[in-house]
Symmetry: C2
Subunit: 123 residues, 2 copies
């Protein structure tokens, strides 16, 4: 259904909050993550830094319940519409990973943390 | 401002319609595309298929006027909020490139073309 070969086995997945329509994050899926996501309706990705399958929220409890899955015209990019449990997708505690805004050619943090990462990721 | 080195010189850019909040497409930027976008407030990308700088809408006239630029917590992904001239971001004539929806494990086209690609791309 997806073209995993074009980009070396991984396709980018954009994640959008189904309710607020805010774009939450970008992650990557391999075939296994894609199949797990379809089967469980919980977002799974391939962690490029840890080189392993990643159930989003597996540690923090902030899972993403998948409400709709869209695929682009070239079959190489995914858009997940999700319910974000806990109200925060970002591992730094922000609702969205897109916490910086470019203003006058400088980056400015424009979001407020909804959790303290030190409390959530205790290890 | 961005970490272009992490992913080999290119960062993914998610494009969202500022008015409808629909996610329109995903493209890639190199340093030059990023700087041109900042300077002109018109979305520029790096075309991986053509291996050249790409002013989005340069051929079709469907440019993207950049209204806001957000950057993620890792400084390696961009979110552009744009006004999409012509009402269609997809080169196949759909408003959004995300024209397929996964329904019962099959892909179904869920969008309607707003232009005929044969008319817009005459060459």
């Amino acid at each position: 259904m997806l073209d995993f070969e074009k980009s070396g086995g991984l396709v980018p997945a954009i994640v959008q909050d189904e309710e607020t329509e805010e774009v939450l994050m970008l992650a990557y899926m391999n075939q296994e993550a894609w199949e797990k996501t379809l089967a469980t309706r919980k977002a799974h990705y391939w962690s490029r830094s840890r080189q392993q399958l990643w159930l989003k929220g597996g540690t923090s409890g902030h899972i993403q319940e998948v409400r709709a899955i869209l695929v682009d015209c070239d079959l190489d990019t995914v858009l997940l519409k999700v319910h974000q449990v806990g109200g925060a997708a970002c591992h730094k505690g922000y609702p969205s990973c897109f916490c910086h805004k470019v203003e006058r050619d400088e980056l400015k943090v424009v979001s407020t943390q909804v959790f303290d990462p030190k409390e959530v990721y205790k290890s």
